[in-house]
Amino acid sequence: MSKNQTGRMIDGALQQPKRQLAMVFDLNKCLGCHTCAIACKTQWTGEEGMENMWWTVVNTQPGKGTPKNWETMGGGFDTQNNARPSLIPLREEYGEAWKFNHKEVFEGGKGKQVHLQPTGRNGKPRWGTNWDEDQGAGEYPNSYYFYLPRICNHCSRPACVEACPRGAITKRKKDGIVLINEKRCKGYRFCMAACPYKRIYFNPLKDNSQKCIFCFPRVEKGVAPACARQCPGRMRFVGYLDDVDGPVHQLVYKHKVALPLHSEYGTQPNVFYIPPLSPPRLDEQGKLLEEEPRIPPQYLRSLFGEPVDAALEKLRQEMVKKQRGEKSELLDTLIVYSWPRDIFPDFANDPAQLAKTAAKDERGGQ
């Protein structure tokens, strides 16, 4: 398969969905508020057995991420398109759903001696989801960090699909959403190892692997995924990649400022990131070093590849244009003047309205 082709080869034929849903995350707008993660948790992962699941997680970069050190775990494909071996991340690496000593503190009469604290599987927790939040890197005054929200990338060449011996994971023809069929899944967890982004969780009660479903029941009703609709930073664009007028297509293909994360993993992810700009570094005298951004370009290259330089340059140029009072189509797209129309034009329906109409229909039908 040639490198710039998307999709995957099965029995000599290129498999591609009819359309592909995708997201663009504008990292310059992420507040690190985790509203996305909570929205998703509330919507999908509240059941027993799913306590430790965060189908969307917001990591601080540079950092170890979720699960811990996922970038060093392997999976995906090598440059020859062969499956790269990898391990299954452990529960502690993802971060456990901690239990707290509520009883002891509130009912045990020890409220004055003991303080409320989490207990992990092996006593005091040594790691958790977002354990290294806001730590980042660099020395004051040149310390830096940024937020990196991550979901399943609904890849065009999903390593999870190819690893499963039961064909339990499919990529939908109509929109490219990658779904685990829980009836076929037997909890073998090859997918968890194969996914290089480590975005699959194991549910021991159901004996199933589970992950982001791109909110397909919402999307089918023209409602944006929960993480995108609830995002106060309005940084999550949603749309079909082939919709040439949509913001997703424009940012990825026209302006070329939205880039896949770790494209070298070979799975052709469908979440794209607007890379973070940063203020200039300061020298020892406190003078601005205009040519040296606080976030080292080489670190950003390690995440988004060489094209990140051009993308950042383009963003800077367009900002200068806008500052001069000229029009910038790119910045206008990123600003999202009119929500939700400008951020997920095909998925602008209000779920509350839909719920009301549904309730009315039901009453009318009785």
Partner: protein
């Protein structure tokens, strides 16, 4: 292998440590690991290329019936008892017996479209139950209801002892094999060693069918 008929209560036959099993004839069944080339996905082939698959190399097998139920007992040495899925890399030990629905179904692929097989599957984290599976080739197995197979397992001094117990006849259930006195039926075996990451097609199995003759 002969399956003697004794008038013993089902409850007794179901006990892996029942005295009756000490008198029953037992056969040594050698097992081999599934060949890596047979694994169905590239990911599994690359990841497990350098690992020995099929850690358990033999089991002891014996069987009895009482005219109403049949009991199949498997015993093997296993220094690591794995009976939970508490962490993502924990896989439970398991065992299965497999029967062709008819004729000579291909064993290594777990049957074929034309010749499906029936497998009874016990897992150390599921106490008391064995699941009835129908398979028609690699990765196609599905669990069905109504067979009502009881599995009783005991781990003691580094050995697993597992008894599968089922009524000889399951009337009206066509997703599980039927037994009758005087009949001969083919059987094959598989064991998964959890501590070795064995699950799915990563297992030890008997590369040939054996014959069970019911007295």
């Amino acid at each position: 292998m002969r399956v003697n008929s004794l008038s013993i209560e089902a409850r007794e036959l179901a006990r892996p440590d029942a005295g009756i099993w000490r008198q029953a004839a037992s056969s040594r069944i050698p097992l081999v690991g599934t060949p890596i080339q047979m694994q169905p996905t590239d990911f599994i082939k690359t990841t497990f290329a350098r690992q020995k698959i099929g850690k358990i190399s033999e089991i002891q097998f014996s069987a009895l019936h009482n005219g109403d139920v049949i009991a199949l007992r498997l015993e093997w040495a296993d220094p690591d008892q794995d009976a939970d899925t508490d962490d993502n890399d924990h896989f439970p030990d398991g065992a299965a017996v497999m029967f062709p629905f008819k004729g000579d179904a291909p064993l290594i692929t777990m049957g074929s479209k034309e010749q499906p097989v029936n497998a009874w599957h016990w897992r150390a984290d599921r106490d008391g139950e064995a699941r009835n599976n129908v398979a028609a080739g690699f990765g196609s197995s599905r669990v069905t209801r109504g067979a009502e197979i009881v599995a009783s397992a005991q781990y003691c001094e580094g050995r697993w002892r597992v008894v599968f117990l089922r009524q000889l006849q399951r009337e009206g259930i066509d997703t599980t094999v039927q037994f009758g006195a005087g009949q001969t039926i083919k059987i094959a075996f598989a064991v998964w060693e959890g501590s070795n990451g064995e699950r799915a097609g990563l297992k030890a199995f008997s590369p040939q069918w054996y014959e069970l003759s019911l007295a």
